[in-house]
């Protein structure tokens, strides 16, 4: 059972307080997009053994959505950050780079 720090209320929250929301930083494809773009947006997800950026909600706490940078293999947490960004902030990228040099995830590295 994971512990993630909620960047809004500062609580180290047990996984039972949290709701997983899948992949972070999705780019929405709405009307006007191609079938392939829509398909990828709806169904194609990263599934790495390693660095992953993902969306969580502090559902039984402050109710806020936030992002976590985590290693799916070792469960190491590189950091959590607010959801109001379209990519991981520099300090999170640095924290991942310090532990996983040369990492990349989608267009981020």
């Amino acid at each position: 059972m994971l512990i993630l720090n909620c960047p809004y209320c500062g609580v180290d929250a047990d996984e039972t307080e949290l709701a997983a929301g899948g992949e972070a930083h999705l780019k929405r494809f709405g009307p006007g997009s191609s079938d392939d773009e829509l398909h990828d947006y709806l169904f194609t997800r990263e599934n790495p053994k390693g660095v992953h950026l993902e969306r969580w909600r502090h559902a039984s706490g402050c109710g806020k959505w936030f992002h976590a940078a985590r290693c799916t293999a070792t469960l190491e947490v590189f950091g959590t950050y607010k959801a109001q960004v379209s990519g991981p902030p520099q300090e999170i990228r640095d924290a991942i780079s310090a532990k996983r040099p040369g990492w990349s995830w989608r267009e981020f590295s």
Partner: protein, 1010 residues
């Protein structure tokens, strides 16, 4: 025979006799006995039969690793099958029964399987029962199920008489295992100031050390243990719990402890088991080591036992399993058993040491006591049925010939010791192969990792590999200090205690005894005692192409019994590696999964049963409904009245009465559970335009609009009426079950996609009681309230038209009245502050008497809406239905560029004209169609089944129409009005229904618009 010795027994109190029964026979033991030691004291060597061949089996171990001595314990509401006799503390009145035999333990018909064992090799079931396919379900499976299985499940009519609970604990350091290593690790960690929780699965501290001997800091292990436990008990930052097993280690320092609070005192008030849910910064695994059996023919005959276990029975409980004992070993440790037995007056015939060079100091001591030691010798075969009779002895390096026979009644065997690595491995800690000790031990460079990427489990003592007492104490001291440091404390610079024990010669791996045993011997050399897996089975699996240890495990069932291979895994692995001509570490181990030993379902459930299984949400009108005949129905966590049943009425009668009365007179519905979300802010309209399929931003304050919500994938997820309160504020009604989910959905889009939009959402569902006043006399009752108490709200058709809302006073209540209708009747849904809900309801009931008022429940709500063809989320929708399927195209805005789900609904298969569409269904004979029944059309599919063309989504008896009515999704449905469709029921009957318009009642909508 096995019997109680005159002396010895450090754990029993000979002044306190205890009476118990085994298979109905009364027996006696002492306080401090385990069931296993007491049975042995009564010469009950045979304790059960094996799973597959029903062979007689006796106890082989003395602790949690025991595979054979499983019994049914207790009776009635306290009966529990498959309990290990070795971990069951004896108490007065204990009732135990052996398992897996018929008609009784001594004479078992199923034992014929052992003579058929030649024909029941590994994978037998897979090979034999695969053809013909239909035979599996009707012939093979019932027979196999009757003959297999261990204990019987408790009587399903009985309810467990005991209670259970959970503890939630945070600690700096959790130490699992209360042997000398665990005690030392806990002591040094605690002296740094860290909070320490130390748990031990047995009722006693000290583990094996007091039995195995040696000294610690010059004290006997017993003395050192008492002193250390006293020191720990005196520390405020230490919690000690005996009878508490480390069940599992999970992500980020989470661990489960399983405390058997009252297994030994049944009936005493309080919980029977307690599940400890622990968060630890660091975990020390001091779980000790488990001895491995030797694989020789007949190693499963009752009386063959692990050497360490036999020593436990003598020292701890003053019981000897035999009078004439042979010891077989590949290491020095087993000599301790021979020495202890000899000193207790038991005849030790031979020590067969598979090593040519034999043992060290302990061997000398044994010889000095007059015990014959035979290096390079092995057991060729143990003879005997229900207990050991003779031992044939051969050379270890041969095939098992040139035998010499001795008469004996017990065998102590030792194949070396394996660290208990479960706590290390559960969360991903890796192992390395230790060639010297022929075991896997934790690899300190690859521990399970915590959130910070650093290891959070440390192994200590023999769980980490060292077996000699001096190394164990030094290792445990270091582990305790390292754990404290990693948890953020500064350990004191103290010296590790000095452990001292006799020096030992190196052990030598022996995976088969004798090394080149012929097939007749290998077929009787057991690896897994409980599941009857032999050396020959694993070798057969290897020959048949099973190379992966995980596949071999499943094919042979090695290690898949309730003991999860605690004794068999390494031995089986070594046989497999040999058969594959591979190195043991190359073959690898199977996965260690929690729990360490089975834990009770009661403990997992904890307090969550009966009334406190989950919180129940109650509306302000709950108690009134309860007092007035409510037949409750769970809706999410809410309880809603299904119907209000009057004395002498059936539920069905009540529903029919409510349905008729609401159409003819006046009905009241407690609609408080309906979700109510306030969406507020300058961008609220824009936001709702994205969430609903229709246009909400154009709604005028004071008006209501029905809206549909879809997922980004296009499917309908919720519906409800939206009211615009003012320019910036909307109130969105959701379904009862959808309030929290839709609130979360809105928050996700607001926080993760449109975070620059100025909108807030608040869930005010519980702030209001909402009552639907429904029926031709709805306006009259409200006007009566106004007349009586001078309320000011004008409820006329002109002042409050359909699909509008007003704030004001109704009677003496501050109210918000919505002219909305889910029944097709004249209807007001009136919200009042939750605190006023009951008073308002009672006022309506009182004032409504002259109008024939009746409360109605959810079933009437459903029937009334189905009569009108209104859809219900969860009935007409199932996550694969789009609004267009339900004829709700009118509620999809053509003007909007975008809304959630719009793009997805443009996909070709969403626009496919073959999609199943909503229609009404009228059974030809007026009966009620079965819910969920599928409609079948022409032809058959590839499996020879009739093609499906639709299904029933809602089906009711309508008292107003005097017939069954239904809604369903049918292929090309709207184009097939008047056609008859067939619905095969699960009862074998075929139901026929005509496709009709889904609006059955008041098609013009005249009744709601008055």
């Amino acid at each position: 025979m096995s019997t109680r010795l005159a002396k010895q027994g450090r754990l029993i109190d000979r002044s306190k006799q205890v009476t118990f029964t085994f298979n109905g026979t009364t027996m006696r033991g002492y306080e401090g006995d385990t069931l296993a030691s007491a049975l042995l004291a009564n010469d009950q060597m045979m304790m059960g039969r094996s799973f597959k061949y029903h062979r007689p089996r006796g106890v082989v171990a003395s602790g949690a690793e025991e595979p054979n001595a499983l019994v049914g314990l207790g009776e009635g509401t306290r009966f529990e099958p498959n309990q290990r006799a070795t971990t069951t503390e004896l108490f007065d009145g204990l009732k135990a029964a052996s398992q897996n035999h018929w008609p009784n333990l001594d004479f078992d018909i199923g034992a014929v399987n052992t003579y058929l064992s030649r024909f029941l090799p590994a994978g037998f079931y897979y090979k034999m029962f695969i053809h013909p396919a239909p035979f599996w379900k009707h012939v093979y499976e019932p027979i196999i199920r009757r003959s297999a299985g261990l204990g019987k499940a408790p009587d399903k009519e009985l309810v467990d008489a005991d209670t259970y609970e959970h503890f939630h604990v945070h600690t700096d350091v959790l130490v699992i295992g209360g042997g000398v290593a665990g005690l030392q690790a806990a002591k040094v960690a605690a002296s740094s100031g860290a909070r320490v929780l130390l748990i031990e699965q047995t009722a006693h501290w000290g583990g094996r050390a007091p039995v195995d001997g040696g000294t610690i800091d010059g004290l006997s292990p017993d003395e050192w243990v008492s002193r250390t436990v006293a020191e720990l008990e005196a520390m405020d930052n230490v919690t000690l719990r005996a009878r508490t097993m480390g069940a599992g280690v999970y992500d980020h320092g989470y661990a489960l402890g399983y405390e058997r609070v009252a297994d030994h005192t049944p009936g005493v008030p309080g919980p029977r088991h307690r599940l400890w849910r622990i968060r630890a910064k660091q975990i020390v695994s001091a779980t000790g080591a488990i001895e491995r059996p030797l694989s020789f023919a007949g190693n499963d005959v009752p009386g063959v036992m692990l050497a360490g276990a036999m020593r436990d029975y003598v020292v701890n409980w003053g019981v000897t399993p035999g009078q004439r004992v042979v010891v077989a070993t590949n290491n020095d440790d087993a000599y301790r058993t021979a020495i202890i037995l000899k000193k207790a007056g038991v005849d030790v015939l031979r020590i067969l040491d598979a090593r040519k060079e034999g043992g060290g100091a302990l061997a000398d001591e044994a010889r000095a006591l007059g015990i014959r030691v035979d290096p390079g010798k092995a057991i060729a075969k143990v003879k005997g049925g229900k207990r050991v009779r003779k031992i044939s002895i051969c050379n270890q390096d041969g095939v098992g010939g040139a035998r010499e026979e001795v008469e004996a009644d017990a065998v102590a065997m030792s194949g070396g010791w394996s660290p208990v690595v479960h706590m290390w491995s559960h969360c991903g800690g890796k192992l390395i192969w230790d060639r010297a000790n022929a075991h896997f031990r934790p690899d300190p460079d690859r521990p399970p990792l915590g959130a910070d990427g650093k290891g959070f489990v440390l192994a200590a003592g023999s769980a980490n590999g060292p077996l000699a007492l001096d190394q164990v104490m030094a290792d445990a001291d270091a582990a305790g200090k390292a754990a404290a440091k990693a948890a953020g404390f500064t350990p004191k610079r103290t010296k590790a205690p000095e452990g001292a024990a006799e020096g030992e010669n190196a052990m030598e791996a022996v995976w088969l005894m004798p090394a080149n045993a012929e097939i007749q011997l290998r077929m009787k050399s057991w690896l897994d005692f409980q599941n009857d897996v032999k050396v020959s089975d694993v070798q057969l699996a290897a020959r048949e192409g099973y190379e992966s240890v995980e596949h071999t495990k499943r094919y042979t069932t090695l290690g898949m019994a309730t003991d999860q291979g605690k004794l068999s895994n390494i031995n089986g692995l070594a046989i497999l590696a040999d058969a594959l001509n591979a190195d043991i570490p190359q073959v690898g181990t199977t996965t260690f999964r929690p729990p360490y030993t089975p834990i009770s379902m009661g403990a997992i459930g904890g307090e969550a049963r009966g009334e406190v299984f989950q919180p129940v949400r109650k509306t302000p009108i709950y108690d009134w409904s309860n007092a007035n005949g409510a037949d409750w129905e769970p809706v999410g966590q809410w309880r809603r009245p299904f119907a209000y049943v009057r004395p002498g009425e059936s539920v069905h009668d009540a529903v029919n009465r409510e349905v008729r009365n609401t159409r003819e007179n006046l009905g009241l519905l407690d609609a408080s559970t309906l979700g109510k979300l306030i969406v507020k802010g300058p961008d609220a309209g824009k936001f709702l335009d994205m969430l609903y399929t229709n246009m909400m931003s154009t709604l005028k304050p004071g008006k209501c609009r029905y809206g549909l919500m879809c997922s980004e994938n296009g499917f309908l997820i919720d519906d409800g009426v939206v009211a615009r309160i003012d320019e910036d504020t909307f109130l969105c009604h959701t379904t009862t079950g959808g309030a929290e989910r839709i609130h979360g959905h809105m928050e996700e889009w607001l926080q993760t996609e449109w975070w620059d939009w100025k909108v807030y959402v608040a869930n005010v569902t519980e702030q209001y009681a909402q009552i639907a006043v429904v029926g031709p006399k709805a306006r009259k009752v409200l006007e009566k309230l106004n007349a009586k108490a001078g309320g000011g709200m004008d409820l006329s058709a002109e002042a409050l038209p359909f699909m509008e809302w007003r704030d004001g006073r109704i009677g003496e209540f501050d109210a918000r009245a919505y002219r909305i209708s889910f029944s097709g009747e004249l209807s007001y849904e009136i919200a009042v502050p939750a605190s006023q809900g009951l008073a308002f309801w009672e006022a309506l009931v009182d004032a409504g008497k002259e109008f024939g008022v009746m409360p109605y429940g959810t079933e009437t709500l459903h029937i009334l809406r189905a009569e009108k063809g209104f859809i219900m989320i969860g009935d007409e929708t199932d996550g694969t239905v789009i609004p267009q399927d339900l004829g709700l195209g009118w509620a999809i805005s053509k003007k909007k560029d975008d809304y959630l789900g719009k793009r997805a609904q443009e996909r070709s298969h969403m626009a496919d004209r073959d999609r199943w569409k909503l229609v009404g269904l009228e059974s030809v004979d007026g009966s009620v169609l079965p819910d969920g029944a599928y409609a079948v059309g022409e032809g058959v599919n590839a499996n020879g089944q009739r093609n499906m063309i639709g299904r029933v989504t809602s089906t009711y008896y309508s008292a107003n129409l005097g017939r069954g009515i239904a809604m369903g999704l049918i292929q090309h449905g709207p184009d097939r009005m008047g056609e008859i469709v067939e619905f095969p029921g699960t009862d074998g009957k075929t139901y026929k229904a005509k496709i009709v318009d889904p609006v059955f009642y008041d098609k013009e909508g005249a009744k709601q618009n008055v």
